[in-house]
């Protein structure tokens, strides 16, 4: 082969590589506009009460940029009986980790999106990047599982950012996700999304856990975006659903605000005891590195009352979840015999290490001390 031909061939191979190195993308679109060529994910992963969701992915109602945006209508009718719903942007469509479709987004440091509510005040419980196949035995699980939220929308476009600095983005098949609940939006809502994209921002640093300021709510009011934990940890097992009736939005006689929590316990399953942990995120039994730094707290307070008075709760507890990522401490009061009137209870946290809290609050009781069952109410659960 002629020498010049070898040089030409070498050059022809090296040029695209050089070009790629120089043109490393500064952004990577999830959604720009309907049918935009640089959309990389499909909003195909409908979850929970998927029957409550309607989508118009080419809404021309005041897009943030371009010719259209995405409109979601969430009815909160609990069509599938879940009480929550959400949508994953996946690649390829319907990929829950069984197909190889993730992108290597190493180098991106944030995901940004624009959102607005039809009226303002709509609450999205959480936004996610990654997380597909993390909990299951998926063949191709995402390399990251990042959450932010809740957020309360305004009626004008506002940009939101998910910090991804320091996260492992080497395999992302779930590009974006939103989730909300009927409790947070009992009448449902309409909201809009536009310009969802990954970006490079060299100034962003990995987010350490910031010390949360007080008061820090577990539960304030059903629609409050200040609620930071989910009452997802039903104990001891799946049978507990038979034993507990849980209402997050009871309006009979809240201590403060519009709603309180009503819990009716009856030992139907024969398990003989039951309880609920408020967790962050939902169903986190110490298997996810999450939770909050509540180092500034000195006490946990809540209000409680029994339907008749005399109901006995064995434990009210904060912290205490043990797993790969354990709560840094725990504190407990109990047994407590409830009054018929609202009564304030305090768990003293002075000297406790509350720098890492997944289990925000917990109660447990049993049939031995409540042979007739127990109906009780909780309100204003907060760290102070």
């Amino acid at each position: 082969m002629k020498k010049w031909l070898v040089v030409l061939l070498a050059l022809s191979f090296s040029m695209p590589a050089l070009g790629l190195a120089e043109d490393k993308p500064k952004e990577f679109m999830v959604y720009a506009d309907k049918n935009a060529r640089d959309n990389h994910f499909i909003p195909s992963g409908w979850m929970g009460d998927y029957g409550d969701i309607k989508i118009n992915d080419q809404s021309s109602n005041n897009p943030h940029s371009g010719t259209n945006c995405i409109e979601f209508v969430y009815s909160a009718k609990k069509t599938q009986g879940k009480g929550w719903a959400g949508v994953y942007w996946q690649n390829p469509a319907q990929n829950w980790g069984s197909k190889k479709g993730g992108f290597d987004l190493t180098g991106m440091t944030k995901l940004t999106f624009w959102a607005r509510g039809a009226k303002g005040g709509e609450v999205i419980q959480k936004l996610k990047v990654g997380g597909i196949g993390i909990d299951s035995k998926a063949v191709y699980p995402d390399s990251c599982d990042i959450e932010m939220g809740p957020i309360e929308l305004t009626d004008t476009w506002k940009q939101y950012t998910v910090n991804l600095a320091g996260k492992d983005l080497s395999y992302v098949s779930g590009g974006f996700c939103w989730v909300t609940t009927a409790d947070l939006n009992p009448e449902g809502f309409t909201f809009y999304l536009d310009d969802i994209k990954f970006e490079v921002d060299a100034s962003l640093k990995p987010e350490g856990k910031k010390q949360e300021s007080m008061p820090f709510y577990v539960y304030s009011d059903v629609r409050s975006s200040k609620n930071h934990f989910i009452p997802s940890g039903w104990m001891p097992d799946a049978n507990t659903a038979k034993d507990i009736k849980y209402e997050n939005a009871n309006k009979e006689d809240p201590y403060l605000g519009d709603t309180c929590i009503k819990i009716a316990y009856n030992d139907v399953s024969g398990t003989r005891w039951a309880g609920i942990y408020w967790q962050n995120p939902a169903n986190n039994w110490g298997n996810k590195d999450a939770g909050f730094d509540l180092s500034k707290t000195t006490s946990f307070t809540f209000w409680a009352k029994g339907a008749k008075g005399g109901e006995r709760i064995e434990e009210f507890k904060v912290g205490g979840i043990m797993g790969e990522f354990s709560d840094s401490d725990s504190a407990v009061i109990g047994p407590v015999i409830l009054n018929k009137e609202w009564t304030k209870y305090t768990i003293d946290l002075k000297g406790k290490d509350m720098s890492y809290v997944i289990g925000g609050f917990c109660w447990s009781t049993n049939v031995d001390n409540n042979p007739e069952g127990a109906t009780f109410y909780l309100d204003e659960l907060k760290y102070e």
Partner: protein
């Protein structure tokens, strides 16, 4: 005698008296007056165990060498094959310097022989404990003076019998008896407690009775044995706010902790609740993966190394730790094959793999059915073989044995607090 010689005599006396006085003073102040084993509070408020004038880190195991096909009633003390001789050698090779015996019953000569053999042959010391009647039927009536006196008599007999054994390290009173004050395990009450309608006050009343009783026992032991510290055995830190009021005379706490890879805020939390030194007297991990249904020695070794690292981080002298830890006794030396089905002798010859309880801190196999992931018969750092060697079940050290041995040889600590 000439005046000169008299002068010399007086001179000798005058020279000798100060020396004698000095010697008396020196002897009075010499370590001879110090207990053989005691806990020293350092200037930085850290605690250090001193044994015969030297700092001592308790590197221990809980010891109950029940052979395959026997149960807890087996009198291993009188076993002519002396399993402790084989075990002691293996323990010494690993670096173990202490065993913990939960309670000693039966022939005191046989017990003394075990203590002496381990100490003389291998330098291994013994922690002796008492259940304080916790497992007696129908339940431990700590509010009943007769019951208290009976337990006190047993405890003081134990102390009198063994206090002069050079191998004895300390006494542990109770194990997790504090849970009975909550009414969760072996609940007990009294007429006075029954009259109190508020269950929180009932709990406080029981705790006052129980911890005051332990304090009383401690003072009685101190009267007859000033050479060995007395520990309050306790499940977790539960109830120690009451011990802080009613059991001030105990020298240390001996806590049972099963928190997986970390002890969390245990050491600092204790400092705030009840500022006493701590022996982590029961901790560890099983080596059976209840999810994958197979033995997993790596899992056990991982947890044990992590736990020992935290123990070392909180020994006296480590500026990043709480400085109140004296060491630990791993649960346990050998597997116990009788535990799963205690009433069925046939099962004592079977190494059961059915999980007995759930603990999310041991997260590798928490997805096991019903989340039951703890295998009570698989906690040994040494496995038992059905083959006999020197008349006893052959000992087969597990990976944890070697991993902890290497850690003790060269402890590598995390200098930053690990909160998770």
């Amino acid at each position: 005698m000439s005046p000169l010689s008299l002068r010399g005599h007086f001179s000798l006396v005058w020279r000798t008296v100060p020396i004698l006085l000095l010697a008396i003073c020196f002897l009075a102040a010499a370590p001879r007056g110090r207990p053989k084993v005691f806990i020293k509070k350092l200037k930085n408020n850290h605690y250090q165990l001193i044994v015969e004038h030297k700092p001592y880190i308790i590197k221990g195991v809980c010891y109950n060498p029940i052979p395959i096909s026997q149960n807890y009633e087996y009198d291993w003390w009188s076993d002519p094959n002396k399993p402790w001789i084989v075990d002691g050698k293996l323990m010494k090779d690993m670096g173990i310097n202490t065993i913990r015996l939960y309670q000693v019953d039966g022939d005191s000569d046989a017990v003394k022989r075990v203590i002496r053999d381990l100490y003389k042959n291998y330098g291994i010391r013994t922690i002796l404990g008492s259940w304080l009647g916790f497992w007696e039927y129908p339940c431990p009536f700590y509010g009943d003076k007769k019951f208290q006196n009976k337990v006190k008599k047993e405890v003081l007999e134990m102390v009198s019998l063994y206090k002069d054994e050079p191998g004895v390290l300390m006494w542990v009173l109770g194990n997790e008896n504090n849970y009975s004050c909550l009414g969760t395990v072996n609940p007990w009450s009294s007429d006075e407690i029954d009259k109190e309608p508020d269950p929180q006050k009932q709990k406080a009343m029981r705790a006052k009775i129980y911890y005051s009783f332990v304090n009383d026992l401690t003072r009685e032991i101190h009267k007859i044995d000033s050479d060995h510290p007395v520990a309050l055995g306790n499940g977790e830190l539960v109830g120690l706010e009451f011990a802080n009021k009613y059991a001030r005379d105990v020298d240390l706490v001996a806590c049972i902790i099963y928190r997986g890879k970390t002890f969390g805020n245990l050491f600092r939390s204790l400092k705030l609740t009840f500022d006493k030194p701590i022996l982590v007297s029961e901790f560890g991990a099983d080596c059976y993966d209840a999810y994958l249904k197979k033995e997993d020695q790596n899992m056990q070794a991982f947890f044990l190394e992590s736990q020992w690292r935290q123990i070392y981080e909180n020994l006296a002298g480590n500026k990043d730790g709480a400085g109140n830890c004296l060491g630990g006794t791993i649960f346990e030396w050998t597997d116990e094959w009788w535990k799963h089905d205690q009433s069925n002798p046939d099962s004592w010859s079977v190494h059961d793999t059915t999980s007995n309880w759930s603990n999310g801190s041991y997260y590798f196999d928490i997805k096991a059915e019903g989340n039951k992931n703890m295998n009570e018969e698989w906690f040994g750092i040494v496995a038992l073989s059905q083959d006999l060697e020197q008349g006893i079940n052959k000992r087969v050290p597990r990976k944890a044995y070697y991993v902890v041995r290497e850690f003790w040889k060269k402890p590598i600590l995390n200098n930053k607090r690990n909160k998770k």
